[in-house]
């Protein structure tokens, strides 16, 4: 019976999907990199060269440098959303034993491009009785914050590359969270301006949902900030990245890094014996255990000190238990954040603002043409941004999951390639384009982010949606108490280890 029931397996479709994804990622990566290099390095350098002693032109060059992250994000978002829509459609097709769009371009490569063109040429319909200004403004308000919110994250995932260093905000994570909570205004506006009962209900639901789920979400992020000791996204990512410290024992960079580390964490925050006593770079070999989802360097410090025999037996057991609790708490925090983020961006199972079986299409029922396209674009961009926040906060930003000693050869090879490319560019009088740590960081960050995006697609393919009152129940009666408990627990555990 089981032999007869064995379904035929087909790896071909998966391979097509992987191939498609890799090509698209290459395009995204290359485009953003090239644009930011041209805008942030080449053009200012050329202007500087031509300017001589003209201060105005030098200022112009600096202004262009400052605009680099914005331009990079502006290039990144549309291309990325194009791929994400395709990935979602092909991914869902894989999960539902279909083939998905495969007609436009090889394997449906250009499908979303074609769809976008179609949407751009469609008529913009203003429904009768709508508020034209609000109706037009809503998608823009929905979309714009995601552009601004992405900028600090860009610096975080590229290991604070000099091109994006300009926007290294000390309160980066608050800025990002504040930006990510603005889109709901756009949804409410769109729902209200549509003059449609379904849209209105959708918009109001969205407001209620966003308010409810922002609390656990922010609390989860705050808890991590508390654990790490900084609000700067670049620093949060950097602290989880053992590569920055690896193999730099005697170099000036090592001293610099150690100093930075000490300044962020503050030795006083650490219970004795401190990790400083055996050297911070001993953390580098713990690889992915340094990520905040495993309790960050609190946990790895404990492991390193334990290995170095710095603890008494009682202290080892006591701190071990605390570390275990910390890991569990961190997992729950991450789950909490992902749940809240799902609700924040209206993904299944929290897609009540656009619940199809109840509200037709919710707040965007009346939208068409380019305005709908912007809603669509922003939805996917928001998904990407909340995934990036999760990666920065819990999954080590741009760090590789491998121990530093294992990963060192790869880094050396990367450095060799980057050096060769830069040498060639230097030969023709252009600024350097690649940097090994940045390259590695960006690749790992985008891979991890897409892992979360694919997970969201899987969830979308599986779960039904909550009812609105159950959603509120779940948010207020489960997630918020849990987040408060975790905040308290982590505060204590932080001091105990």
């Amino acid at each position: 019976m089981t032999t007869a029931a064995a379904a035929p397996y087909n790896i071909g479709e998966i391979w097509k999907f992987v191939r498609l994804s890799l090509i698209w990622m290459g395009i995204i990566f290359g485009a953003v990199w090239l644009v930011s290099w041209v805008v942030g390095a080449v053009i200012p350098a050329l202007i500087d060269q031509a300017a001589g002693k003209d201060a105005v032109l030098h200022n112009l060059a600096n202004i262009i440098r400052l605009l680099t992250p914005l331009i990079a994000v502006m290039v990144f978002i549309p291309i990325n959303a194009t791929y994400m829509v395709l990935a979602e459609r092909r991914g869902l097709a894989l999960l539902t034993v279909r083939k998905g769009p495969n007609r436009v371009g090889p394997d449906g490569f250009l499908q979303t491009g074609a769809d976008a063109v179609k949407l751009l040429f469609k008529e913009n319909i203003d429904p009768e009785g709508s508020d034209p200004l609000m109706f037009t403004l809503a998608p823009i308000i929905f979309f714009a914050p995601s552009v601004f919110g992405a900028i600090p994250l860009l610096a975080a995932v590229t290991s604070d590359h000099e091109l994006f260093h300009i926007v290294n905000l000390p309160t980066g994570i608050f800025y990002v969270l504040a930006m990510s909570s603005i889109p709901v205004v756009g949804i409410v506006m769109g729902g209200w301006a549509s003059n449609n009962k379904y849209s209105l209900v959708g918009g109001l639901r969205s407001a209620a949902q966003a308010i409810s789920y922002e609390i656990p979400l922010v609390l989860a992020v705050i808890t991590v900030c508390l654990l790490v000791g900084t609000l700067n996204v670049v620093d949060i990512a950097w602290l989880q990245n053992p590569m920055a410290l690896a193999g730099l024992d005697n170099s000036p960079q090592a001293a610099q890094a150690l100093q930075r580390w000490e300044s962020i964490r503050g030795a006083s925050h650490m219970a004795a014996p401190s990790i400083s006593s055996i050297g911070v770079n001993s953390l580098a070999d713990f690889g992915f255990l340094n990520w905040n989802i495993f309790g960050g360097d609190k946990f790895t410090s404990y492991l390193a000190l334990l290995a170095a025999g710095k603890y008494t037996v009682e202290a080892a057991i006591f701190k071990g238990l605390a570390a275990l609790l910390l890991i569990i708490s961190s997992f729950l925090l991450c789950g909490l954040y992902l749940t809240g983020a799902c609700a924040e961006i209206n993904r299944i199972p929290f897609d009540l603002p656009e619940a199809e079986s109840e509200l037709v299409s919710g707040y965007n029922t009346e939208y068409s043409g380019i305005r709908f396209a912007i809603f669509f674009l922003a939805e996917f961009t928001n998904l990407f941004i909340v995934s990036t926040i999760a990666v920065v906060m819990w999954f080590g930003g741009g760090s590789s999951p491998f121990p530093a000693t294992l990963y060192a050869p790869v880094m050396q090879a990367l450095a060799g390639v980057c050096g060769a490319v830069n040498e060639v560019l230097k030969g023709i009088g252009l600024p350097a384009i690649l940097e090994a740590t940045t390259l590695s960081g960006a690749i790992w960050a985008i891979a991890k982010t897409y892992f979360l995006v694919y997970f969201a697609i899987l969830v979308r393919g599986t779960l039904p949606r909550f009812r609105i009152d159950q959603l509120m129940d779940f948010g207020w009666k489960r997630l918020i108490p849990l987040s408060l408990i975790l905040l308290l627990t982590v505060t204590f555990l932080k001091e105990l280890i």
Binding site: P8, N10, E13, V97, R98, K99
Partner: protein, 320 residues
């Protein structure tokens, strides 16, 4: 409290189980059928576009203008024009119209047709630009001889008996049936006799009874084939009359297609087809070639295959 934690863990486990089950499907064979590229495998009894069959052996138009289908049609989409032939005093078909825009493909007309003339083909692609073009007239409806043969075997219909006087062929049916006109009238009758004889007998007795007549019929068929300009096509259309196994039909088709262009070659193929030695090896291949669903297919047995081979009748056909 603990109950709550337990329930939460159980819920998470169930969600994970669901996610895992869905993820498992990623490696399953996709069920998508890329329709215009790969045609669906339709069963023989599929009720598609209506068409009028001709006698697969003689090419005579089978419609006798009895108006049964017109009367039974629930949608009144069939319109038959006929007049009484002055020679035979029998109704003679002038035009036959089916409005496929009205038709609901219930297949009742095919059931009441006394001559199995109107049949549901497996064709379902009828999209057109106007309603008028969905009204099919006699010329558009009439199938060719080999198409008729194909559907007769696929739908497992009994072969029609030829008309007593082939000379009185319907005027309009001539388009499809013209090459068959000069066929000797004696031949199909011989076949028609062979069929009822062979049927009641058991499987072992069949070949003995059927072979001589069938062979004779085949030779008689080969002769008019010489006169045909395009005999290579004619060899390809082999109709089995007794055990209507599709394999043997397509096998003969294949062997014939492989043979050369000349008419002599076609004759050789006919003779080769008679030799029962070839039946075994080639009976496997055509299975993939036919578009037909294997549900309607009869598994070929070795002894039956030999017998049906001998009974095969090469068809001459002027089309293409």
């Amino acid at each position: 409290m603990f109950a709550l934690v337990g329930r939460s863990i159980e819920s998470l486990r169930q969600v994970a189980r669901g996610l895992g089950t869905v993820l498992k499907h990623a490696a399953r064979e996709p069920i998508t059928k890329e329709f215009p590229d790969t045609m669906p495998q339709l069963a023989g009894h599929f009720r598609g576009r209506l068409a009028l069959a001709v006698n697969p052996q003689t090419g005579d138009h089978l419609c006798i203008s009895c108006l049964q289908c017109e009367r039974v049609c629930p949608d009144k989409c069939i319109q038959i024009t006929s007049h009484k032939s002055p020679e035979t005093n029998k109704p003679e078909l002038i035009n036959f119209k089916i409005d496929h825009g009205l038709c609901m493909f219930c297949g009742l007309c095919t059931e009441v047709c006394p001559t199995n003339c109107i049949i549901n083909t497996n064709d379902f692609e009828m999209a057109d630009y106007s309603r008028e073009s969905l009204v099919y007239d006699l010329k558009k409806l009439t199938l060719t001889q080999d198409e008729s043969a194909h559907y007769y075997s696929k739908k497992e219909l009994p072969m029609p008996k030829p008309k007593p006087k082939p000379a009185a062929k319907p005027a309009a049916g001539a388009a499809a049936a013209k090459p068959a006109a000069d066929k000797p009238a004696g031949k199909p009758e011989a076949k028609a006799e062979a069929k009822p004889e062979a049927k009641p007998e058991s499987a072992e007795a069949k070949p003995a009874a059927a072979a001589p007549e069938a062979k004779a019929a085949e030779e008689s068929a080969a002769k008019p084939a010489e006169t045909q300009a395009k005999a290579e096509d004619s060899a390809a259309k082999a109709i089995e009359t007794q055990a209507k196994t599709v394999e043997t039909a397509t096998k003969a088709e294949e062997t014939a297609a492989k043979s050369g262009e000349t008419q002599q070659k076609a004759e050789e193929v006919l003779k080769a087809a008679e030799a029962s030695t070839k039946t075994e090896e080639s009976s496997e291949k055509p299975e993939e070639k036919t578009r037909e669903i294997d549900l309607g297919r009869v598994p070929a047995k070795s002894d039956e295959a030999a017998e049906t081979k001998a009974a095969e009748e090469p068809k001459k056909e002027g089309e293409q």
